[in-house]
């Protein structure tokens, strides 16, 4: 698979076999080989130097498991056209649960042919198999078995290696004369468990279908989906967006029937060559307003770094709503209150879609004395409900600054006595003479949260310079905690 992914992106000379290398204990070893290299006797695990000695004209590429995984994920997204339940079988397999979905393609065999054709079109070789359970199908696809009249017989004719036990257990099975799964299945299960371990017994039961082999799908099937298939591929993105708008209307009707609204929407454009492109948006409040959803999609598509490419056209578009929340029928206030609240929420969604989740934030209080940790900045898309902030004492001036520096910025301070308040300080190369001050407000480190029970106490001073500007300064550490503690400016008051 790495070789076929590489072939899609980079041309190479026809007579230079392709190998992938990775560094194992300081030496370059081959991690994967292309079919042409395998035909010349190169195998994974061989040192690169040996391979070069045998075949000087090698194309050597460093092995990139992350790119392979991403490519497999893309292929899995493309397989979403057959069934929503697609599981990854890393590093190079996909398991599709097609129960109840095969008839849409005209049957199991037709589905397999269609999938093979599409994979072939993007240059991927597939070996597929259909089995009664996920483990059985996987074993049938991965291990060559002699032809058999039906599935059950085919599974029984699989070599014992298909159980994928540890090498030692497989060797023990072979030494005992058990060559196929059928040989093993004809023995009593208790004996197998006693002799070859419980793992062998479980693997056997799974491959035979006696024990369920659970599938971990790539995504859970979304509760609401709307999709449209086209007889002729749709080549224009404008038309695709128009279809998406219709799908949004359909999904809105489906959600209204359930009294729900969507918090997340995902559009998947399936290209006729088998690849797919997914685009997701989120909203801060549940919604079923198709126009709003389309505006957010347009915003997201405008901001994409690599624009969506229709290629040879889309032959299917699906809109899924993975997250639903209760949303009653809404009634607007006469004086427009509900409208205004919705407008602010919509703005937050639009800006979140354009700028990113972390860029539109709301503030929530946190229960701590450490000033820089006393506020939580949370993405507006999923901020918890408003919480009350600590009460302030009447008649006091503000004790916390309007702007906070995090991290605090170091300053030079001249104090009249070492332990006393600052008299003059230099910040950003400007000298400020202190006119008024209040302090210290002593804030200790949260020793109960720190493993080493350490941490310096801070002495905070609220100061005002002769120009009337107000600053929040602190000395990091008491004189008996640390010799020569540093001073910092932590904030600016209004």
């Amino acid at each position: 698979m790495p070789a076929e992914r590489w072939n899609r992106t980079a041309p190479r000379p026809p007579d230079a076999p392709l190998v992938f290398t990775e560094k194992v204990r300081g030496a370059l070893r081959i991690a994967a080989v292309a079919p042409d290299a395998a035909a010349l006797g190169l195998v994974p695990g061989m040192p690169l130097a040996d391979a070069r000695a045998r075949i000087p004209a090698l194309t050597v590429v460093s092995h990139d498991p992350a790119a392979d995984a991403a490519w497999l994920d893309q292929l899995a997204l493309g397989c979403g056209r057959y069934t929503p339940l697609v599981a990854l079988d890393t590093p190079d397999g996909l398991i599709l649960d097609i129960a109840g979905a095969a008839h849409l393609q005209g049957g199991e065999a037709e589905l397999a042919i269609d999938a093979a054709m599409r994979f072939d079109r993007i240059g991927m070789t597939v070996r597929h198999a259909i089995g009664p359970t996920a483990d059985a199908a996987r074993a049938l696809a991965r291990y060559p078995a002699p032809p058999a009249p039906d599935e059950a017989a085919a599974i029984r004719r699989l070599p014992v290696a298909a159980l994928e036990l540890e090498a030692e257990a497989t060797r023990a099975l072979l030494r005992a004369g058990l060559r196929t799964v059928g040989d093993l299945a004809s023995r009593p299960m208790a004996g197998i468990a006693a002799r070859f371990g419980a793992d062998a017994a479980r693997a056997l039961r799974r491959i035979l279908g006696d024990e369920p082999s659970p599938l971990a799908p790539r995504t859970r099937p979304p509760p609401v989906t709307a999709e449209r298939r086209f007889a002729e591929p749709l080549a224009s993105s404008t038309h695709a967006m128009a279809v998406l708008a219709e799908l949004a209307e359909e999904a809105a009707v489906a959600m209204a029937e359930r009294g729900k609204g969507g918090r997340a929407f995902r559009a998947t454009f399936f290209r006729s060559d088998g690849l797919a492109r997914g685009i997701a948006i989120e909203t801060g409040q549940p919604t079923r307003d198709a126009a709003l959803v389309m505006r957010l999609f347009a915003e997201r598509i405008d901001g994409l770094r690599d624009p969506i490419d229709p290629g040879f056209g889309y032959d299917m578009i699906r809109l899924a709503v993975p997250r639903l929340e209760a949303l009653g029928a809404s009634q607007l206030k006469l004086e427009g209150g509900a409208v205004h609240q919705a407008a602010a929420g919509e703005l937050a969604d639009r800006l979140t879609t354009r700028l990113g989740r972390g860029r539109v934030r709301q503030y929530r209080p946190a229960d701590t004395h450490i000033p820089e940790q006393a506020q939580l900045e949370l993405p507006a898309a999923d901020a918890p409900p408003a919480a009350p902030w600590p009460n302030v004492e009447a008649g006091e001036p503000p004790l916390r600054p309007f702007y906070l520096f995090d991290p605090p910025q170091p300053i030079e301070v001249i104090a009249e006595v070492p332990d006393g308040p600052p008299h003059r300080f230099r910040w950003r190369r400007v000298l400020h003479a202190v006119r008024l001050y209040e302090g210290p407000e002593r804030i200790a480190a949260e020793w109960w949260r720190r493993r080493d029970n350490q941490g310096l106490t801070r002495d905070y001073y609220r100061v005002e310079d002769v120009q009337g500007r107000r600053y929040w300064l602190f000395r990091h550490g008491l004189y008996d905690e640390k010799p020569g503690p540093r001073w910092y400016i932590h904030g600016l008051f209004a």
Binding site: A344, L347, Y363, Q375, P401, D406, E438, V466, G468
Partner: protein, 262 residues
Amino acid sequence: MCESSSSLAGLRRTVARIAASGAPADSRAGGWLTSGHAGFDAALGGGLMVGRCHEFFAADPLDAASAAGFAALLALRCGGAAPLLWLRTADSAQREGQLYAPGLAELGGDPNRLLLVETDDAKALLAAANDAVRCAGSAAVVVESRGRLPALDLTAGRRLALGARDAGTILLLLRIAAAPEPSAAETRWQVTAAPSRELEARAPGAPAFDLELLRWRAGPAGARWRLEWNRDEQAFREPALSGAFLPLVARRALEPHGAAAA
């Protein structure tokens, strides 16, 4: 019969007022953002006009917190529970410091109403501001910027002002380290930190601001105020005299930008 017709007339008046201001009747008292200081509001004909753009220049980069605090207090004084949109670029957290919600709470504002929007650069900031002013239902939109801001030319400024007028929102444009220049703003202010009233034991008192009206489309400019924020009454007021002020002449000599522009 007579009674019902008078109540009907009252309703009509309410509807007319809503239609005129484009905002719920409880917020921003009939189209003005008021300070609570009677003299200040009266001199401006009611306060800062809603549906317009107002510029606040920090007299010195060190006055940034004062200018920002003044804008935030004006915006949060009224507007009920409507959100305050605060737009800034991502690098301003390093230079000016991050907005500190507990500090806003100490000033008497409700940080839950604050919605912070950070953008990569000034261009994205103006684009986000354009969307934000067109969103009815905010208490105010504060756009914090630093430097000359070449992207905000007359056309861009006019577009922002028109957006605010159409949606009935108010845009407060904070300009830090920038010199005043012609723009589409209704009023232009220079904000300087003012010495606070000294509390006992030489402690700094409530925040005080020196304001100078650099430009006003609807009237004469040049007026100056010194306002002090009274948190308990949620209003600005005349600072009580303490005699500890620096003389005005000395302060003016320290100011880098005068009232030359505008």
